[in-house]
Symmetry: C2
Subunit: 278 residues, 2 copies
Amino acid sequence: MTLSVIGLGLIGGSMAIDLKKRGFAQKVIGVDADNLHAQTALKIGFIDEIADLETAISLSDLIILATPVNVAISILPKILDKVENQIVMDVCSTKTGISAAAEKHSKRANFLAAHPMAGTEFSGPWAAISDMFDGKAGIICDQEKSSPKALETVAKVFETLNMRAVYMDSVSHDTHAAYVSHISHITSFALALTVLDKEKNESHIFDLAGGGFRSTVRLAKSSANMWVPIFQENSKNVIEVLDTYIEKMQNFRDAISDQNMDALREMITTSNKIKRVI
Amino acid sequence: MTLSVIGLGLIGGSMAIDLKKRGFAQKVIGVDADNLHAQTALKIGFIDEIADLETAISLSDLIILATPVNVAISILPKILDKVENQIVMDVCSTKTGISAAAEKHSKRANFLAAHPMAGTEFSGPWAAISDMFDGKAGIICDQEKSSPKALETVAKVFETLNMRAVYMDSVSHDTHAAYVSHISHITSFALALTVLDKEKNESHIFDLAGGGFRSTVRLAKSSANMWVPIFQENSKNVIEVLDTYIEKMQNFRDAISDQNMDALREMITTSNKIKRVI
């Protein structure tokens, strides 16, 4: 199997490493608009050669589209225009926009909208690591719109990455992702901004930062190139979750301000039920 | 050195383990209002015997006060009433209230207000672990109000725990702690509440939860018994940071709602400067 990876960053690069290492792909072709990224991927060795998009498509059995979601939406139709029997999967964090971009295409069945739920706060080919997907959820969206061969190929990709396949439609995916992924990033960005603002007057404030702060602020290192298009694509869901979240924060603020310790205790005790999950 | 630990939970228990193991204390006496906690601490072995408060004080060289902060504030004057040459340190997460409780006491100099900036989301004697403090900051507050012997003793405690001592006044401590610790807990509690609410209608929502969600929501497992008194004690600072934080969240909401991608990119890029710190 010859694999092309379009977008040689954290996700595309990490997939390339394990799909080659674990024998799924014999050859990996890399495509990236940024020549430094492409050269780095080649140097690190998780791609075997650099090609332009058209050449990569023509030489591949499977094409993994791993660019920021706005780029993916814009180039997916062009990729499908060139496809014959090749399978195309994307790995973007929002799914309705990219599904819509493929919807009316004559090669729709060759495409599968997927989302491996794994990552780190780092980005670019330098961030690509092995074993990142092990044990995580691999989302497969709108399976009825993809050919059996496309489904089988993506299921095999996830199996090779030691992921458990989870099936849902694009719309549900985007709602869920807003709640268990997108909001986490915004809470971290806002926390970083809050403390960095304060640091202007209190230069030693980070002397006190412990593990709790590190854990909640870690995602604030995430790349704007990846996240701005996600928030744009999933704005309706993200706004809904933000409104609920801001309301909860306001409830905490009010309980503290009113010295309503019973309300505070009840909110904390209810939130402790997250122990069922993590 | 005989050490008494009042409050045999995560912090008191973890200190007892390492202070004994590393030869600082030859004997550890435990005091806890909850008999199950006291018996568990004895069974696990990080205390050598259980005693009542008065007996523990009379037999000790150093008393570590590691209860929730409201309890600590209420019993500190009673402890100081009984003290002759013993040193008393507290390890609570807010410092102005406890400092005020000792302020006018004739034994004020025997007391040192401290805060080892370490912990986990777990609680009780079962949560006590070794090596938890290694490499973390050990805050020493209002040093000028404590005797040289008290300062030396607490510095030695932190040295034994492999902590770096950081000196500041109680008021600065409480401001700083609101920004780099207390707010992180509220963001996690609110995130847990938001997603648990949504789960009522979307039962599979946690199928998608990955490492980012886990990292930002982890602190929502923290104990109400510890955190309600902290928010009560530090309400003024916590409200200030909450107001700033909610404003930042609102800015994200507005930028997404207005599809103002330049503003979003700028906020994310600015928040990325947290890389200087973590």
